[in-house]
Symmetry: C2
Subunit: 126 residues, 2 copies
Amino acid sequence: MIELDFKKGGGLLPAVVQDHASGKVLMVAYINQASWDKTLESGEAHYWSRSRKEIWHKGGTSGHVQKIREIFVDCDKDTVLFRVEQVGGAACHTGYESCFYRKIGADGGATIVDEKVFDPERVYKK
Amino acid sequence: MIELDFKKGGGLLPAVVQDHASGKVLMVAYINQASWDKTLESGEAHYWSRSRKEIWHKGGTSGHVQKIREIFVDCDKDTVLFRVEQVGGAACHTGYESCFYRKIGADGGATIVDEKVFDPERVYKK
């Protein structure tokens, strides 16, 4: 059983999330030991929400869970890569497939280069 | 000019580095404002070395620089994605193409799934 290095980041380390089929980078989130254990146990991505300070089962509200297909660990054991099947086709709470929907131009400005997959007001309304 | 949110991470934020041609995730490193500016100015990836506490021109020693092809920023502006041309074919100091050369199995153990591109003892020797 591999031991990740959570110490360097004060108990948290980043997880890069990539679509297993397209190779698109969808998002980066943070994991602690408990969310790592939950991810391995359940086969669905669990993170640590830095804003809410709680375990975050991605897709728990929206239904857009991330089914783990492969996990890789980096040379320093302080970053993981989740290759996932993104249910619902969008990882970002804004409705885009990827959180990286803005491209930086030569002038340092950002331009939206993707189309929304869903309307966040519909998905998240109670 | 986009302003990244460096505050959340105490002056640093993660950069995910992806091969622009293959889509392979190569590494994650950290940037501060100065390394971000250097990256935009020079067109080659510059990071902040958390261990050496200095600006790190990736490839400065090995020659394995990362030529920036595209940059994306995430929804919260606290993570960036560099799509690069990796000179030398390997991003990892261990000699592997990607730092994510180990796959986690169902039992939580790690297995090396890549081949080394270079011998680190030759590249880094003085």
